[in-house]
């Protein structure tokens, strides 16, 4: 059943002790992966809708900015809660370090959040404030692109074997999952028929891409049994499998023609899948860090 791999038992260890340190992060980190990812995807959707300059899409544009801002605000709180010294959260903006995805992400979140906040609160009645709001909305949308998936780069840029081993696909997986999660969130909301169609297409693309990325990531990690192991066993493995199944189910329901109940259910399933996927990947890192045989 397993691919041909070197005999794991032949690898020497120091009394089976881990080589690496376990992450010190808590549940707020994967929760942020989900919330921040949606925020990125929805801001992109809103900015693209804004570019179309169609009055019929204006409610979607406004809703997207607000959702994006709420996601960034909640996400910031989740990240600050994880810090060992939360009162020093502003130190994140002390340096600008392109080598560190966490530094880049902090800037994207801080600047993007300010922009989406501005776009959301500026009055839409006056021409001048409205155009300032639109400029902010576009800029927030541009920053939404990295926001949707930089967390994948953040994990891949670590020494943890299962995260580093997934570096070719994990960022793409997080981006596509953000699209799927964003669509799932909208599917649970009251929308106009036109907005429903937009969300439907966005969701089908996102969920399909997510399943492709999942398959690609599993294939890459399978090159070494010790590396892929956490995604096949234990809590992480169970979450990973459940979220895969639910993504398929959510996609299938989305594709069923014209039933609003099915749409809602697809949204619920897609949401659980999106959250489960982030926690699965997060949890897999803990198991991976404990296995000295996964470290080369």
């Amino acid at each position: 059943m397993n691919p041909v791999v070197p005999d794991e038992n032949a690898v020497a260890t120091y009394y089976g002790r881990p080589v690496l340190k376990q992450p010190v992060w808590i549940w707020t980190v994967p929760a942020y992966f989900y919330v921040g990812g949606i925020s990125g995807a929805v801001l992109v959707l809103g900015a693209v809708a804004q570019i179309k300059r169609d009055p019929g899409l204006r409610p979607l544009v406004i809703a997207a900015r607000r959702l994006g801002f709420i996601g960034q605000a909640v996400g910031s709180v989740l990240l600050i809660a994880d810090l060992g010294k939360p009162s020093r959260f502003l130190n994140m903006l002390r340096v600008f370090r392109p080598l560190s995805p966490l530094s880049m992400g902090s800037w994207v979140l801080a600047v993007g959040g300010a922009l989406s906040g501005l776009a959301s609160i500026l009055p839409q009645k006056h021409r001048s404030t409205r155009s300032l709001s639109d400029v902010s909305g576009l800029a927030a949308g541009a920053l939404g692109i990295p926001l949707a998936g930089y967390t994948g780069v953040l994990l891949a840029n670590s020494a943890i074997p299962v995260w580093q081993g997934a570096r070719h696909s994990l960022p793409a997986l997080f981006v596509s999952s953000s699209v799927a999660s964003c669509a799932s969130l909208f599917e649970m909301m009251e929308l106009s028929p036109r907005e429903q169609r937009i969300v439907h297409r966005f969701g089908v693309i996102g969920k399909t891409a997510e399943l492709i990325c999942i398959t690609a990531m599993e294939r890459q990690l399978s090159e070494r049994e010790a590396v892929v192991k956490p995604l096949r066993n234990g809590v992480a493995g169970a979450l990973w499998t459940v979220s895969k199944v639910l993504t398929v189910a959510s996609l299938a329901l989305t594709l069923m023609p014209g039933q609003s109940k099915a749409r809602r259910t697809a949204g619920v399933l897609g949401t659980i899948a999106g959250i489960g996927l982030r926690f699965a990947v997060f949890q897999a890192g803990f198991a991976s860090s404990r296995n000295p045989k996964a470290v080369v």
Partner: protein, 266 residues
């Protein structure tokens, strides 16, 4: 200021743990509890936020190259582990606050008044050295006794080492000394002796360690990774994946919104 570092020659380590004690005392680090691990003489078990030197004890059913044994083959390896102060330091490159800096001695130092305990360095170290302390929430590791170096003193561990297994000095001199030592050991029949992390050629992933080691068995035996790599050296693929997916994200949004043209009149 010349580059400073450690050359730890494990063949003359006697496992006295004076380095561990000296480090704890000088740096005023809290104890880690009095646990009995059952792993040979190693009750320290690992490096951590409050343990910056750790002596590993390896009991092997194998004799050393030049060793004569009376009752079966056996050898006992001891090695004092420490932060490697890598040329490409994963912790430093990941640090989003700039708390982790390169000092004038070329060592890697965490500024405790800047660190906000984000924990990214913890997963970025390929050696599992740095960790976050539970009480103050900050990341801590060996400072190469930055305060002592400032006063022209050698680090506490090197000062305390009774066999000079831990050698401190200018990196260039330490490397020459280490190469000579390996040659000498080879001549004496200990042909398995080699240097771990002494230069960028043998350890491209870190581009060399400022604290390197002389070992007589595979790195994994000492709980060292055989091919440590600063994560950022490999993350180009991750950024590329994000870039491709970012284009896909915009394309998905355009497809979702633009393909609805026929009904936009309503």
């Amino acid at each position: 200021m010349p580059q400073k570092g450690f050359f730890t020659d494990t063949t003359i380590c006697i496992g006295c743990k004076a380095c561990e004690v000296a480090c704890k005392e000088w740096n005023q680090l809290p104890d880690d509890g009095f646990v009995f691990s059952g792993l040979s003489y190693d009750n320290t078990v690992e490096l951590g936020a409050s343990t910056w030197r750790h002596v590993a004890f390896i009991e092997r059913p194998v004799a050393l190259g030049n060793q004569e044994t009376a009752l079966g083959n056996f050898s006992w390896l001891m090695m004092s582990d420490v932060c490697k102060h890598c040329t490409r330091a994963g912790c430093l490159e990941s640090c989003p606050t700039g708390a982790i800096v390169r000092t004038e001695f070329d060592s890697v130092f965490v500024q405790p008044d800047v660190c906000n305990g984000c924990g990214y360095c913890v997963v970025s170290c390929p050696f599992g050295v740095i960790d976050r302390r539970a009480d103050d929430g900050l990341a801590w590791k060996c400072t190469l006794c930055y305060d002592r170096l400032k006063d022209d003193l050698e680090p506490a561990c090197a000062k305390a080492c009774p066999t000079d297994s831990i050698k401190f000095g200018d990196l260039i001199e330490l490397r020459l000394m280490a190469e000579k030592r390996v040659e000498e050991l080879h001549e004496r029949g200990l042909t398995e002796a080699y240097l771990y992390g002494a230069d960028p050629a043998t350890q491209p992933g870190t581009e060399g360690l400022n604290a390197f080691f002389l070992l007589v068995d595979k790195p994994e035996v000492y709980n060292l990774p055989s091919d440590p790599v600063a994560p950022a050296k490999r993350s180009g693929a991750a950024w590329a994946s994000l870039a491709v997916a970012g284009v896909g994200l915009v394309a998905a949004a355009v497809a979702a919104i633009w393909s609805d043209d026929e009904s936009s009149g309503s």
